[in-house]
Amino acid sequence: MKHVGRHLSAYHHGELSAEEHLRVGSHLLHCSKCRDAYDEIRLGARLASSLSVTAAPAFTWRELRPNRAVTRRSRWVAPIAIGALAVVIFAIISGRGRIQDESSWKVSGVPGMPRLRPGEVLQTGSSSEAEIQIANIGRLTMDPNTKIRLLITQADQHRIAVDRGKVEALTWAPPRLFIVETPTATAIDLGCKYTLEVEDNGSSLLHVTLGAVALEHEGRETLVPAGAFCHTRSGSGPGTPFFEDSSAPFQSALRSLDFGRAGTEPARQLEIVLREARVRDGLSLWHLLPRLEPELRAEVYDRLAQLLPPPSNVNRDGIVALDPKMLDAWKNVVSQLWQ
């Protein structure tokens, strides 16, 4: 006699076929063990039925803020852009995303400095924080011991420099409108939420929690999507982006590859990276390709092809030679990781 325990919730909810329903029903008539189990399921279901809908608190439609936006410059983020277009439209029609010239930004938390104007410096103390309205496109929070400068605020660009400390930015504007300069890279907002921490030596750490940020340095762009980190170092610019849930050995080996001293063994570090890489880490592997010597690049190709097979118009020789069209074609596959 085959017991029917695993079917009991489906039986209770009427989710079985007529034939199965009859079979379970007749089994219950004769099997006390399954009957007891069914009593338990019915009690559990009855208890769960006591849940009632809780009215959402008085957070209103107007409190909703778009968190993604559209870019037209890069095919890399094109899928993000499609969805984000709706956000921009929403922002405009809701009357909250209208982009206007603002000559200064509202500051909260810094006595004696209610506004921040272009050319001015804002610095928080060892125990104070500040919140700044980025014109009407977003909000910037400054941690203690943070120093920023407002460089430009106008309809088509809002630009600050973070000299040191930690800021959190949240924007609801079209992409590439809000730009943060650090000593080692330029962070270009693609419609998102992120934190950026700059150390005294100019090194920085970017952590994106919504949307995406592009880091630019000497003409090279690194895309950091939600859930990913990226280090930057003086003299090296941005490192390879990596997802926060990648393994510790993966992250450590990646940092050695990015910023290791001369004499460290890149081949050994790459071996660890490739061994630890999951499908999701295709983000890092793709960004690694142009950073490595051709011999090592071929190894990255092989591993990335295992994890995320390239399109038919992409081949090993082309990737090792850094063919821009092939890199771009594969990038479109890899970018599905965070869609």
Binding site: S9, E40, I41, G44, A55, A56, P57, F59, L64, V87
Partner: protein, 213 residues
């Protein structure tokens, strides 16, 4: 001209639902036209969707995070922001509600993972069941029962938790849940089985109250 007609239609729908004052009723007026209007970026259509589903989405998040209002509110906002940014990707391949609740379940599970180190499942005694027509004693018992159920659900593994919340807040079929949770129908059945048993075993002392014995 077409957009003007669409706007007028949505406005009427919205006024109707506002007059009804019942969020659940608004679900019935979310049709392909409303979805299409959202895809075009019409504010009224987004508003209609928001009003139709906000209480359900909030309730799932509220219960998933054991009555933490701040997190539930945050998750609800995230869900609707994602909905707005991704509505253009929705291609009617599945029912809208299934698609929405996939976003809800992912938002809850993602937030849970993000908060894993910090989240304290402290108890909360704030379910707001509104049950007109019951005696004060009945309402008290119902409230206590629901608090107990929420506590047990909050202690379940996240995948069991979201399964039981989708089932009992949304009354979704197993097929719909499988689509929303990106798993098989058998897995849905298995998760609900385990969740029911956990509830029954941990709250066996409330049997009489639950069954009205």
């Amino acid at each position: 001209m077409e957009e003007a007609k669409s706007h007028a239609r949505l406005t009427v729908k919205f006024q109707e639902q506002a007059l009804s004052g019942r969020a659940l009723m608004t679900k019935n007026i979310i049709d392909d036209g409303t979805i299409e209007a959202c895809r075009r970026g019409e504010s009224d259509a987004f508003r209609l969707l928001f009003e139709a589903y906000k209480d359900q989405v909030y309730s799932i998040a509220f219960c998933f995070f054991d009555g933490d209002e701040a997190i539930a509110k945050d998750v609800t906002q995230d869900v609707f922001l994602k909905l707005m940014t991704r509505i253009s990707q929705f291609q009617n391949r599945s029912e809208f509600a299934t698609w929405l609740y996939r976003i809800v379940s992912n938002a809850c599970l993602d937030r849970k993972r993000a908060l894993a180190r910090f989240l304290s499942f402290s108890s909360s005694d704030k379910p707001e069941a509104t049950e007109r027509g019951k005696s004060a004693e009945d309402r008290y018992l119902q409230r206590e029962l629901e608090i107990s159920v929420r506590k047990v659900i909050a202690g379940m593994r996240p995948k069991l938790r979201i399964a039981i919340l989708l089932k009992y807040f949304e009354d979704m079929s197993y097929d719909e849940m499988a689509a929303a949770l990106d798993c098989s129908k058998g897995t849905v059945a298995s998760r609900l089985n385990r969740a029911h048993r956990i509830l029954a075993r941990k709250l066996s002392h409330l049997r009489a109250v639950a069954l009205g014995e």
